[in-house]
Subunit: 392 residues, 2 copies
């Protein structure tokens, strides 16, 4: 699933420590530069509270092209008003100057603590070092964008004769809801394909809805979620739109899965499927309600095949179904049929399946055509540790 | 706030161990008997998955009167199909027989593990002992209905010359959403007032919306939530409707506050007020989103005045407001104005206020008339402990 090659034609990457994070020598500033103008598409958080870099990046992708992405971790530059906006504009302008390109061609993204203005001077001071560090491997960049992440997140796929490389960060405040122009998940999809903006955007939005927007760690949608797709065209070939879409969806799925698996304090990933409702939209509402239920997520942590909590969460989703027809399987083991439990043996088999790092939960609520899928993590002491003391 | 007198004219109470809970000698069966037919009103969970006792109690209150309430803890009798329904009907029939009343006059309520059929024989065997135990004090009853509760929950108020006594249980799976006929909160409001059913129901629904339905521990609405109000008329006086409504709201508020304070693993209560939106409905949506945010609740656990998380949660509620006009105070200390933080001193004062067992959080998002209030608890390791191992 994960990347074998950490480079992609037409793009160079860098990641260095710039003193933004408290920990000395932690990588916290990343840069991606396209050799030529790249076609760009973006999806941004639908949270009403949006960080300065989100506002700026959304405006700048309207031109349809970009040359660079400047990303910092350790500071979200959110809820920072005019000083925050100035910091985003000044740092991206400095990148443009260092690269000899236009400021509007530099897309900013930030992740970290809310409410502190981005340290402009430190970033500008670090830029010469950052630019000198540009190289083919995306590995330092993938580490520079991490916050509470335990590992970097990369994935690749083929789209016909072209390639796709995806890089993401995210472990908490993960319940992306990103859409056309308007994800602290950050995800970057790079391709060397030739693609026009409509095709690129279509592939991006399709991938977001099927993957990032159907993944949750804690139900909290960030002020900074950003997904950017850049196409360099360096492969010299234009894959079929469906090929590109499929490749983006595969890479997005791998990245979303890695984020959920890396959920703060999480140890495993449950892949929830809800079927049998009137519509996909209905199924998605139920899946989201179950996937974000604290009682369900703590039961997962306890490796408890607690079907009652799953069914109770579905029942409060506001979507009509007949509970007496509900069926449930965990790890492929049926434990509920016609709304009634199948017994202690079935439950102990399901509990055994829950020892795996990832397993399916299938909830069938009728015979309608509506289906949805959601990735969710267990929630335990680690989450509390990370988030009760995040700023202190 | 809490009850000084644990009795109310016209009602007798009992609570005994019946072997329903695993722990030997734990009180788990409670009975309330009205000396005469009492006027009754009820509000039941809006969860689509509803336990057998909820279905039966809702049907039986339609007659407008009742004589008895049979409550067990340790078993929710939810998702138990026909055997569960039979168990509810047989146990309430046995109570009716023992008391010499009609079965339809006995209202059932259950709380505990989902998916196990109520142990009919144990309950019926215990009934003679239960009936012999009937007395004026509601104290044994208030303990017999507890599950993960750390303390019994009682509250009283005056309604003119009449009295109101409220008894509740609940600490987890607490996000009540109860309404006209339709917790696992269980709450029982007893009054010795003379009241017709419409007046009683009106007072009950008003109290539910203002108190239980604006309180959350974990965002999970139970299959068994039940609020019943019974009026014995033994005081011989009919208070004004507004008096009764006010008394119910006061008792409801005290009980809801006690439930949230007793939230599984919780150590304190935050009383969230959201103001300045277009409507009360809008304010309620925002308040609910903030009150149920995992990042907000873990910040409360850490006593971290993390306003960024509060504002970010408000921003994903789907209600329009201008973030640059947002203001926030915690414990009466303003820490955000015009969308911007008021500095480290303000935050450290707010953090100090968060050491209290209860404190207000006031979020102002504009100058509209819409206001809402929500009670929420901190969420920490205790919640994980209780819920990762609840059934094992």
């Amino acid at each position: 699933m994960f990347a074998r090659s950490l480079n992609i034609r037409g793009f160079r990457f860098a990641g260095i420590p710039a003193g933004i994070k408290k920990q000395a020598d932690a990588l916290d500033l990343g840069l991606v530069v396209a050799d030529q103008l790249a076609v760009v598409a973006g999806a941004f958080t639908r949270n009403l509270v949006r960080a300065a870099p989100v506002v700026v990046a959304e405006r700048r992708i309207r031109s349809g092209t970009a040359r660079a992405i400047l990303v910092n971790s350790g500071n979200a530059n959110a809820c920072t008003g005019e000083p925050g906006m100035t910091a985003t504009l000044e740092t991206t302008a400095a990148v443009a100057k260092a690269l000899g390109i236009e400021p509007d061609q530099v897309l900013p993204a930030s992740t970290g603590v809310i409410g502190a203005v981005l340290p402009t001077a430190r970033i500008i001071d670090a830029l010469p070092h950052l630019v000198r560090g540009l190289g083919e491997s995306a590995e330092p960049f993938s580490r520079a964008i991490m916050t509470t992440d335990r590992w970097p997140k990369l994935a690749t796929a083929r789209a016909g004769a072209a390639s796709v490389l995806g890089i993401a960060k995210g472990a908490g405040m993960i319940h992306p809801d990103v859409g056309p122009p308007q994800a602290t998940m950050l995800a970057f999809l790079f391709t060397d394909a030739l693609a026009d903006q409509a095709t690129l955007a279509d592939a991006l939005y399709g991938a977001c809805d099927a993957t990032f927007n159907a993944a949750t760690v804690d139900g909290d949608t960030s002020t900074n979620d950003t997904v950017l797709a850049l196409a360099s065209g360096a492969a010299g070939v234009a894959p079929a739109a469906t090929e590109l879409r499929w490749a983006f969806a595969r890479v997005g799925d791998a990245l979303a899965r890695s984020m959920v698996r890396d959920g703060e304090g999480a140890s495993h990933v449950a892949e929830l499927t809800v079927r049998g409702l009137a519509s996909d939209t209905d199924a998605r509402v139920v899946a989201k309600t179950v996937a974000t239920s604290l009682l369900v997520k703590t039961a997962l942590f306890g490796r408890d095949s607690n079907w009652g909590r799953i069914l109770a969460a579905a029942g409060r989703a506001g979507i009509p179904f007949d509970p007496s027809r509900a069926a449930l399987a965990i790890g492929g083991v049926p434990i509920l049929r016609d709304g009634l439990p199948l017994g202690a043996d079935a439950e102990s088999l399901a509990t055994a399946a829950m020892q795996n790092e990832t397993y399916p939960i299938e909830l069938v609520l009728g015979d309608g055509p509506g289906t949805a899928r959601y990735l969710t993590s267990d929630l335990g002491h680690g989450y509390v540790d990370v988030n009760a003391g995040y700023r202190t």
